[in-house]
Symmetry: C2
Subunit: 349 residues, 2 copies
DNA sequence: TCGGCTCATTACAACGATGTACTGGCGGGC
DNA sequence: GCCCGCCAGTACATCGTTGTAATGAGCCGA
């Protein structure tokens, strides 16, 4: 009842190898390999005999031998700051599916946004067993990335162009400008930017730049008082910023009628911080995020956001990587992820 | 400026091996291995000479050789229904960190809740290159799981006890009873259960059982009209159920003053569905979820939920796996994940 | 009937690392 | 002064698989 293969195998038996199957089937190991690999000319009768023993012994090719012989594992690594951030979780999910359709497996590494760990991963630590790497660096600068390619690598994210590595870029300048522009178009004039970190990584820097461009484009003077600072891009920090902003608004220390958050989880935190302090969204303050993570459609109010097409990112990243693995001599290529505005409740009617 | 290792290496050069380093350092390959492995007695002078060449050539041990020789990869697989579900994303994140502290790497597979894929993963497909597996099956039944262990495996989740495999159990009967009991303690008398699927997997079945136990314990008669059915445990389906429930309430077709959702994303969807239809939470309907995912603290209203201690699950799962790898002859063990109620706004004051 | 040909299969070696068994040298104890 | 034992290092074999080159079997046409 149920499964029905190789259940008769002994207890502490060594895992069967091609040799075992070959012996049982009365052929050479190479023939077994040929059958399992699907290649070459094998007489139907022989194939059948081999397959029967494969089944009987429960043989499965072992990765080690194959890897050693062929020099490839069929495994690609994905390195992201944190897999439990919705944006990266979704990206990982899509990448795993895309990889599956190419017959590849994905290993996930977390860098925790730590430069040191990003460097390690880029250098192929601790052990080299992936064929390639999809790296979504947070803190690593473009300059460092030049020295990266110790293994076929695709970078995902912002980072100065011109780096001679395959990349799926995100035009965060345009993304932020679109978000800020939307608030301005809604008539907001005191638009703050949430998510400025003590040390700006490329993503933050570009979004800051896009935000500024939108403001000056609308004839508004830059005002550093509109930059809301946080230690990290988390819900917690967003909520803290929201509570602080509410205080400042009530005390007249701040004059803000719109906030562009550098990403959605910050925005979602902000919503809660504001709500807890009785600030109404979007009536008092309109809010726009960036990413369009799943939960943004379910917040109250639902979150207007600049969607980054993660399906496209995942697909392109894998395509670039697969083609590079096939031909290491290709020139470095770059694709850009599409983005678009998703208008919901948080930015008003 | 910046990186400073092995940059002088040629272009299309083959990756250096122990042999190359040995040759350059004037020692035997085994000595290089000893130095890199940190083991054995090596004279400081020799060690230095070897390390210098390691640095100069940019040598990194290759996984294939090591794996083949030692029979282990230092990689453990994690198979979950979907990495982009907050619960599993968080679990994965914690497991990756825990693994790192053991010097292990994690590969992530997604089963998409598909029994067939769960079976494949359990059987070690497509290629065997992980030392062990942490499997969080959704649809696979306990009966099938008996036949699983084709590689050292730790099961995470519900599933009938008695299966001779290492497990980190979740007592979903108690979990659901706690959630439902909370609603009853708050004075709700028409408590519905959201998340009943056409075919109940173990998790759903246990939560249904716990829910029923709580109701009958409070002297309430079971009422199948209180079972809210959904195709899947997603925000979308939760929202649809919320909208439908709101309709029914308004039309007098339903009498419900509390809902226990089988998990948080369902509950979060439900909140939105109810809100969209003007049903107030918790005034009209109190809502309780299960899981305590990060976003549950940030919804409006924030979500009361039964927290499952994922930190504990991840830690225990890895501990069980590591100890099993060290000693395959250990008897099957079982740990149970702690859970507790987190009271927030959605269940009233 | 035999050469020439194709197809199926095999023997061998190699991928990179390391466990085992061994060698040679040195110092200490009796 | 001799032997034992330890230390540093090496030679060899091996993990499982598969590319390459070689072998053998069968078939066709001349």
């Amino acid at each position: 009842m149920g499964g029905a293969s190789g259940m008769i195998r002994g207890m502490a038996t060594r895992r069967p190898t091609v040799r075992d199957v070959a012996l049982a089937a009365g052929v050479s190991p190479k023939t077994v390999s040929n059958v399992v690999g699907g290649y070459a000319h094998v007489r139907p009768g022989t194939r059948e005999r081999v397959l029967k023993q494969v089944e009987a012994l429960g043989y499965r090719p072992q990765a080690a031998g194959r890897h050693l012989r062929q020099g490839r594992t069929g495994v690609v690594a994905l390195a992201v700051p944190a897999i439990d951030m919705p944006y990266f979780g979704d990206l990982a999910s899509r990448l795993v599916r895309a990889a599956r359709s190419h017959g590849l497996t994905v290993v996930v590494e977390q860098t925790d946004g730590d430069v040191e760990r990003e460097r390690e991963v880029a250098a192929g630590l601790p052990l080299r067993f992936a064929d390639g790497l999809v790296l979504s660096p947070l803190e690593m600068s473009a300059a460092e990335l030049v020295a990266v390619p110790d293994m076929p690598t695709v970078l995902v994210g912002e980072h100065a162009a011109g780096v001679p590595v395959d990349r799926v870029g995100i035009d965060s300048v345009a993304v932020a400008a679109l978000g800020a522009g939307h608030l301005l178009a809604r008539g907001r004039r005191r638009v703050a930017l949430l998510g400025v970190k003590p040390v700006l990584h490329d993503t933050a820097a570009q979004r800051l730049q896009g935000y500024r461009a939108a403001l000056t484009g609308a004839g508004l003077a830059p005002d550093d008082g509109l930059l809301l600072r946080v230690p990290d891009w988390t819900r917690e920090d967003g909520a803290a910023a929201g509570a602080a902003l509410a205080d400042d608004l009530r005390a007249g220390r701040a004059d803000v009628d719109g906030v562009l958050a550098m990403n959605d989880v910050l925005a979602l935190g902000l919503l809660q911080g504001l709500r807890g302090a009785g600030v109404r969204v979007p009536e008092d303050v309109a809010v726009v995020g960036v990413d369009d993570v799943a939960e943004s459609a379910y917040s109250a109010p639902s979150l207007t956001t600049v969607a980054i097409d993660r399906a496209s990112v995942a697909r392109d990243a894998l395509e670039l990587l697969v083609s590079r693995l096939a031909d290491p001599d290709l020139p470095p290529r770059e694709r850009v992820a599409p983005h678009h505005l998703v208008v919901r409740e948080s930015s008003g009617a």
